[in-house]
């Protein structure tokens, strides 16, 4: 698709990152789930920024902590999960320590969220007009009539045909793609500065996916909203994001401009991830597989979480955990990039058999 053409227009956001200007700034975020047998660390030392108007893709396998990061930012973690350490700042203002009561006005107004499944995101017993109007009126000082007018504008904007006739329809009267458009309209109703889109296209048909992504990109660009796009689909990231963050076992292991990460991944896990995507690289007889599986949260190995599966793992990787280290374009949490004493890279062998 139009990968290279897009990249020319993208601002180089990586170099101009600053805590004060970033819409979202996450520092050393740690999320814990205490249970009977001890404490599970679901997110460990996550740090990243999203600049205004920027789309940050967050990728990783199921259970890597992508959605958890989004839920932690908007404080919708399932109890007993909670933020145990670190900071979350929204436009420079600290929000991770707000009480539930103080956080409610932020949701929808300053941080919007879109969930994976449009079929279950809307309450089946309320018309979409009702759900839009209540959301608009929760945030903006509009009367019923003006809120309905705004609801119509929003539906028109997200591409619902003949919105006047659809406002009083119920969710089950819409197709999946149309429902996701309604969900986007709801998330954008009060013009939040940050949108967290948690797998917004995963539940949709491939043909509808592209439309929804284009729509999401368009409406966020028009409003200058920053987007945190959580997905496991690298194709979606390549199409949409400016930068990409790769997560593994609750840790952030690589972050950088999207084309660099896709074409020149710096972390061995990202390398494996890119090599195992069908269609992006050259056509192979067999798809590449990373040996083994991601560790359970209760059994994360010491040192680098990826070391048991890593082809380059050295003793140091098994003992010392690498933090994010600068690479040519971005950062990777890997001792291969230690500026003083890098671990030696072993030649990558094609998987035989």
């Amino acid at each position: 698709m139009s990968l290279t053409q897009n990249s020319a227009e993208r601002p180089d956001t990586a170099s101009q990152r600053e805590d004060t200007t970033a819409v979202l700034s996450v520092r050393n975020l740690r999320v814990e789930f205490p249970n009977r047998h001890g404490t599970l660390v679901a997110l460990d030392d996550i740090s990243f920024d999203i600049a205004p108007g920027e789309i940050l893709g967050v990728v990783g396998e199921s259970g890597a902590g992508k959605s958890m990061t989004g839920n932690a930012v908007i404080q919708l973690l399932e109890p007993p999960g909670h933020i145990a350490a670190g900071e979350v700042r929204l436009s420079g203002e600290r929000i991770d320590n707000l009480s539930e009561e103080d956080f409610v006005p932020l949701r929808g107004r300053r941080i919007g969220m879109i969930f994976q499944d449009p079929l279950t995101s809307l309450n089946p017993l309320f018309s979409i007009g009702d759900q839009l109007v209540e959301t608009i009126r929760a945030h903006l000082p509009l009367n019923e009539k003006k809120a309905r007018a705004k609801a119509l504008d929003l539906l028109r904007e997200v591409g619902i045909p003949a919105p006047e006739t659809r406002l009083d329809s119920y969710p089950h009267q819409f197709s999946g793609g149309m429902r996701q458009r309604v969900v986007i309209a709801l998330a954008l109703a009060a013009e939040p500065e940050l949108i967290i889109a948690d797998e917004p296209t995963t539940a949709l048909d491939v043909s509808v996916q592209a439309q929804i992504l284009a729509l999401l990109k368009k409406v966020c660009a028009e409003r200058g909203a920053a987007v945190m796009l959580v997905t496991h689909d690298m194709g979606v990231i390549a199409e949409t994001a400016n930068r990409v963050a790769v997560m593994y076992a609750g840790r952030l292991i690589e972050i950088g401009p999207v084309d660099d990460v896709i074409q020149r991944p710096q972390h061995p896990y990202t390398e494996g991830l890119m090599a195992s995507i069908p269609g992006l690289g050259a056509r192979r007889e067999r798809l590449y597989q990373i040996e083994g599986a991601m560790p359970r949260l209760a059994a994360i190995p010491s040192g680098c979480a990826f070391n048991p599966r890593c082809p380059h793992a050295a003793d140091r990787c098994r003992q010392e955990r690498p933090s994010l280290l600068a690479t040519s374009q971005g950062q990777a949490a890997c001792w291969l990039h230690d500026p003083v004493n890098p671990v030696a890279r072993r030649p990558l062998q094609e998987t035989s058999s």
Binding site: S121, T135, A138, A187
Partner: protein
Amino acid sequence: MLAFFIQRLMQAAFVMLVVALIAFSLFHYVGDPVLNMLGQEATDADRAALRTQLGLDQTILVQFWQFMVSAVQFEFGISYRSARPVSELILERLPATLELAIVSAIFAVVMGIVLGIYTAIQRGNWLSRFIMTASLIGVSLPTFLIGILLIYLFAVELGWLPAFGRGQVVELTSWWDTGLLTTSGLRSIILPAITLGLFQLTLIMRLVRAEMLEVLRTDYIKFARARGLSRRVVNLRHALKNTMVPVITIIGLQLGTIIAFAIITETVFQWPGVGALFITAVRFVDIPVMAAYLMMIALVFVVINLVVDLLYYAVDPRLRVQGGGK
């Protein structure tokens, strides 16, 4: 919508027909009423005359048809015991039972829903735990025992409330004497209403709680929170409406049970309602009264079920479109 309504109406009519058949057959399995009514001195001619008068010389089918025709007009014949029309006896007693049933239903539904919501939202705090434990007692104790315990505590020991009867009644219309407008009437209804409603209350409460917990886990509740709606709106507007869909059915069925089970409460509190009338009828093998009572209870259940089906339509738009559109 209309087709659905007519279909449900036909089903209701069929149920009533079957119940009528059972009620009718009561007359034929409990001995010859003519013998009971005329006593030992009567001649064969007297018996034949009464038989003709009651229509008992006709074939079974003709008799059933006549039973049905008069049942539709609320005519259930003459009570064997008091020699008065059964419909009159029932109508006289019905207001007492209906008032008791309605008051205890309101008590059960309102308290059940409120406590259900509370224990679902405040899951785990000590008050919810206490309510949940206490509700187990309500579910497991039999009605008559609860009634007797309440009488012992509030009427005998504390002397706050009367132990039996309906208190003073005032005439509302020619056929409705109400106890709800006098102080003694209101005081009298408290204990029986609690006795009758307690089981339903605990049932409704536990059901509302379970459904509510289920609904609170759904995606649309999480999305409603992510849209910035307050806890209050999310819980009481979004979650409650979804909770009510299955709860309505159970509440409907329970209302029928409240009227039917009023028999026990009415006996314990000597409440002058149809339940007490039925108990007396059973003791004296007063078949017309028993048949009429059976039909009445069946009618109550059928009507309530019909209303519940229609309420479903009002609450859940998904049914409205599927049923009405096609």
